[in-house]
C-alpha cells in the first residue's frame, strides 16, 4: 500500500505516493531523480547518503521517505547558487579534498551542517562532525583542510572558537584521539 508524502526537495514542493519501506535515499535518487546522493554501505556506516532534513544532517539510507513527510530536504545539488559553488564545495575543490568523488556529496553535506551549527570548529570538533563519513581516497588530511578553509571563507577569519561548546562535549572530544584504539 502506498503512502502519500509531501516533501520539499531543494526548494521544490513534491507530492508522491511511495511504499512505506522506500528509503529516503532511493526517494531522492529514483523518485526525485537527484543522483548526487550516494549509497556506499548498508549499515549506516559511511555517510555517503548524507542530506539535510529540515537543516539537520541525516543519513538518508537510514530514514524512510515517509518519515520525511512534510519536511524540507536539501541535497548536494541544492546548495550551489546558479553556477557558483557553495563555499564548502569550493573549499573541497580548492584543497583537493576529493579524488574519486563518490563520498564527497556526503562529506559536503555533513560539513555544511557542521559549519551551520558551529561556524569556526576546532580540529577535534571537525573530527566529531565528520566521524560518520568514510572516505577511502584522500586519507582525510585534505578534507580537514577543506573544512577549515570553508569555515574561514564563510565566517571571515576562521579563527579557532573557544566558547559555546557544551561542557561535556568539549571534554569528551579531547579524549577521543587518545582512547580510540588503533
Amino acid at each position: 500500500m502506498k503512502q502519500s508524502v509531501a516533501i520539499t526537495v531543494n526548494g521544490v514542493q513534491r507530492e508522491d505516493a511511495v511504499e512505506a519501506r522506500l528509503l529516503l535515499v532511493h526517494y531522492l535518487r529514483e523518485v526525485a531523480g537527484l543522483t548526487g546522493t550516494h549509497i556506499a554501505c548498508d549499515t549506516s556506516q559511511c555517510g555517503a547518503c548524507t542530506v539535510l532534513v529540515d537543516g539537520r544532517a541525516v543519513k538518508s539510507c537510514t530514514v524512510f521517505a515517509v518519515q520525511a513527510d512534510s519536511s524540507s530536504v536539501t541535497t548536494v545539488e541544492g546548495i550551489a547558487t546558479g553556477s557558483t559553488l557553495h563555499p564548502v564545495q569550493q573549499a573541497f575543490w580548492d584543497e583537493h579534498g576529493l579524488q574519486c568523488g563518490f563520498c564527497t556529496p556526503g562529506f559536503v553535506m555533513a560539513t555544511a551542517a557542521l559549519l551551520d551549527g558551529n561556524p569556526s570548529p576546532t580540529d577535534d570538533e571537525i573530527r566529531k562532525g565528520l566521524e560518520g563519513n568514510l572516505c577511502r581516497c584522500t586519507g582525510y588530511a585534505n578534507i580537514m583542510r577543506a573544512v577549515r578553509s570553508a569555515a574561514a571563507a564563510m565566517h571571515g577569519t576562521g579563527e579557532v572558537r573557544s566558547t559555546a561548546t557544551p561542557a561535556g562535549a568539549a571534554t569528551a572530544e579531547s579524549k577521543s584521539a587518545a582512547t580510540v584504539g588503533g
Binding site: E19, R21, L22, H26, R29, E30, L34, T35, G36, T37, H38, I39, A40, C41, D42, T43, Q45, C46, A48, T75, V76, E77, L85, Q89, F92, W93, D94, H96, L98, Q99, C100, G101, F102, C103, T104, P105, V108, R127, K128, L130, E131, N133, L134, C135, R136, C137, T138, G139, Y140, A141, N142, I143, M144, S176, A177, A178, T179, V180, G181, G182
Partner: protein, 779 residues
Amino acid sequence: MAVTQMVGARIQRREDPKLVSGHGRYVDDVRLVGMAHMVVVRSPFAHARITSIDTTAARQLRGVIAVLTAGDFRPVISGALPVTNAFVPDKKQVPDQYPIADGEALYQGEPIAVVVAEDRYIAADAAHLVSIEYEPLTAVTDHERAMQPGAALVKGDRPDNIGWDTTFAAGDIDAAFASAEIVVKERITQQRVFPIAMEMRGCVADYTPFEDRLTLWTSTQVPHFVRLFLSGSLGLPESQVRVIAPDVGGAFGSKIRPYPEEYLCAAASKLTGRPVKWNEERSENLLATTHGRGQIFDIEVAARRDGTLLGLRFTQLLDIGAYHGVFSAFQVVACLVAGGCYGWEAISARSIGVFTNRTSTDPYRGAGRPEATHLVERAVDLVAREIGMDPADVRRRNFVHDFPHTNNFGLVYDSGDYDKTLDRALEMVDYAGLRRRQEELRKQGRYLGIGLSTYVEICGLGPSAATAPAAGVALVESSVVRVHPTGAVTVIVGTHAHGQGHDTTFAQIAADALGIPYAQIEVRHGDTADTPFGYGTYGSRSLAVGGMAVLRSCQKVVEKTRQLAAHIFEAAEDDIVVDQGRYYVRGNPADARTIGELAFATYGAGLPPGMEHGLEAVSFFDPPNFVWPFGCHVCVVEVDTATGAVHIERYVAVDDCGNVINPMVVDGQLHGGIAQGIAQALFEEVRYDDESGQLLTGSLLDYFVPTIAELPDYELDRTVTPSPTNELGVKGIGEAGTIASSAAVINAVVDALSPFGIRHVEMPARPDRLWAMIEEARR
C-alpha cells in the same frame, strides 16, 4: 601569447566541480527506459553442494521478470571467466570458473541464481523467495593447512589445493648463509583485507536484439579488458560490444578484472530483452569483490655483525581463494623485489599459491610490493635489533648506489638516491632528538616508537619485453590526440581514471607539448566506442606509460604541424622553430603562425603534396623499462601499554617519483596511499570462522575502515630524481604511499614495545593483540 608552463603546476582538478556538486555520473546514476533490476542470490556457505533450487515462489511474485540459474546461462555465456596465473612460470592448476555456480559452491558469496524484476525492491523480495537446498561440504579455511597432503579439497575433482609452486633464486644462497654471522627468522603475515572502494561495483547492460549489440556501463578500471573477454563469452564480435566505465568511485585494484556479475547482467539483458541494472550492496561487496593480500611469509636473513646484509631466503604462501583472480599471481612479484633498496649476495624465494574456499584475492593497492617492502623493512629492523645497531644505519650501509642498478633477478632500477630521502626524512622528524625523547619517556613508563621504511617500488606496467613471458602480455598504453579545426583538442586515452585526476594531468602534459592553452584541451577515457584499445589503470602505470602515449601523439601532431608550417613559410622543416605553440622560421619570430591557425589549415585546401587532411595522431607506448619510485617514510607512535591502543603522533614521508606533473595530485595520492597502509597496519582485517569458513567481518560495522578521527596529518616532502627511461622523466605515485607505510607503522609499534622484548608484531596491531603480547612478555 605565451602559454604558461603547465607541467609541474599545482592546479585544481577540472574533474571536481561536477563531483562536488552532485553531478558526477556513476553507474547507478544510469537509468534507461524499460530498465529492470537484477539481484544475485549467493551461497551462504563456503563450500556446499547445491542439491536443489526452487524458483517457483520467486517467479510468482508480481513484478518478477525472470529467475535464472546456471542452466539458463549456459546457452548464452560460453567458456569461463578469464582466470589465470599467467605471471607464474610453474603453473600447477588453472581451474575454470563459470560466472555462476553449477552444482557446487566454492566460496561464500558465489552466485547461485539471479532475479530480474521491475524494480530493486521487488528483486530483493524475490531473491529471498528463491529456495535453495545445500549440502554443506568441508570448507578449506586455512591456506597453510590446505597445502598438507591429505588436506580437504576446495573442490572434489581437483588433485590438490596448489595453484602454483615456483622458486626464484639468484646467487649462492647457501654460501650467503654459511658466511653469515647472524641469521634472523620471522613469520610475517599479510592479512586479507577488503579494498573498499566507496562506490561498490555495479553495471547496466543493454542488449538490443536484432541489432545484436551490447552496451555495458560498468564500474571498472579496465573497460577494454571487460569488452575483450565479455564479447568472446557472449559470442559477439568485439565491435558489437561497447563498454563504458563512467565516473568510477574508487577501485584500488578491486575493479581490475572482468567479474561474474558483468557476464550475468549482460546475459540477463539478452535473455529478458530488457536493459538490466545490477548494483552491489556493501555486504555483497565484502563477499563478492576480490580481496587483497592474504599471504604468509616465512623469512630468514643472513647478515654480518657490522650490518651487512648477505642473503634473504623466504617462502610466500598466497591464499588464492577458490579460483585464481585475474592478476592474483602478479603478486608473486613480491619475490622479485623483496630485496628492496639493498644489495644482497643472494636471494631465494619460493612462492606457493594455495586454493581455499574463500573469495578470490587479486591486486589491492600495491599488489605484491607492499608485501615485499613490509618483509624487507621488517627484516632490516630485525637485523638491526639483533646486532644492536640503529635501523637507519643498517639501511644506509646496504643501500645500492650506482644507477641504473640491476637487482638480483635482473630487474633494472632506473634511477635513485636512497640516502637523500632517508636523510631528509630523518631531518624532518629530528631523528636524534626523537631517540632522546624516546629514552626520556621510557623512564616515565611511556612507550614511544619510531619506525622507518625505505622503499623502492617497481611500477609502470609494463615493458612488453618483461611481460612477454606472461602469456605474451604486452601492457602498453594508447592515446589519440585530435586537434579540431578551431584548435581545441581532444585527448583520448586507453587508461581509466577513478580518482587519479588524469583529466587534469594529461591535459597539462598535452598543453605543454602542443603549446595549446590547457582550457582548450579535453581528455576522454572509459568508453570503448571512442578510445583506442587500452590496458586500463593499475600498477601506477597511467602516467609513465599512458602519459607517455599522450606525449608521443602530441609529438606526432607537432611534427605534422611543423611540416605544414615549413610548407606555408616556404622554408626547410629544420628551420621551423616551435615555441609554445608558435611556429616561425628561425630568426623571424615576429612572423609566426599559432598551432590553432595551422590546425585550421590542415582541414582546408593548400596542403603540401602527400599530406593528409586533419590533425590527429595515435600512439601506443611500450616503455623500455619499469620505473622505480622510492622514498623514506617515518612513523612515530605511542603505545598505551595498558590498553594496547596505538596513537600515531607523526607521519613523515619523503618520496621521489621523478618529475611531477601536478604536485597537488601527487600529494593527494600519497595521502590516500599512506592511509590505506596505516589502515592495514592498525585497523583492517578480513576474518573468517575457522571451522565453517563463514565471513565474520561482513559489514563496515565489524571491518574497521578508519575515519577522519583515526588518521594523522601527513608531513610530506620530495626529492626529484627523474627517470631516464621516459622523456617526461616521470615514475608513478598511485601506490607508493601504501607500499611504504605499513612497514613504517609496524616498525614503530615494534620499536615502542622493544623494552618488553617484543621483536615482531603482526598486522593489524589491534589493541587486544598488543595487550596480550605485552601481558605475555610481562609474565
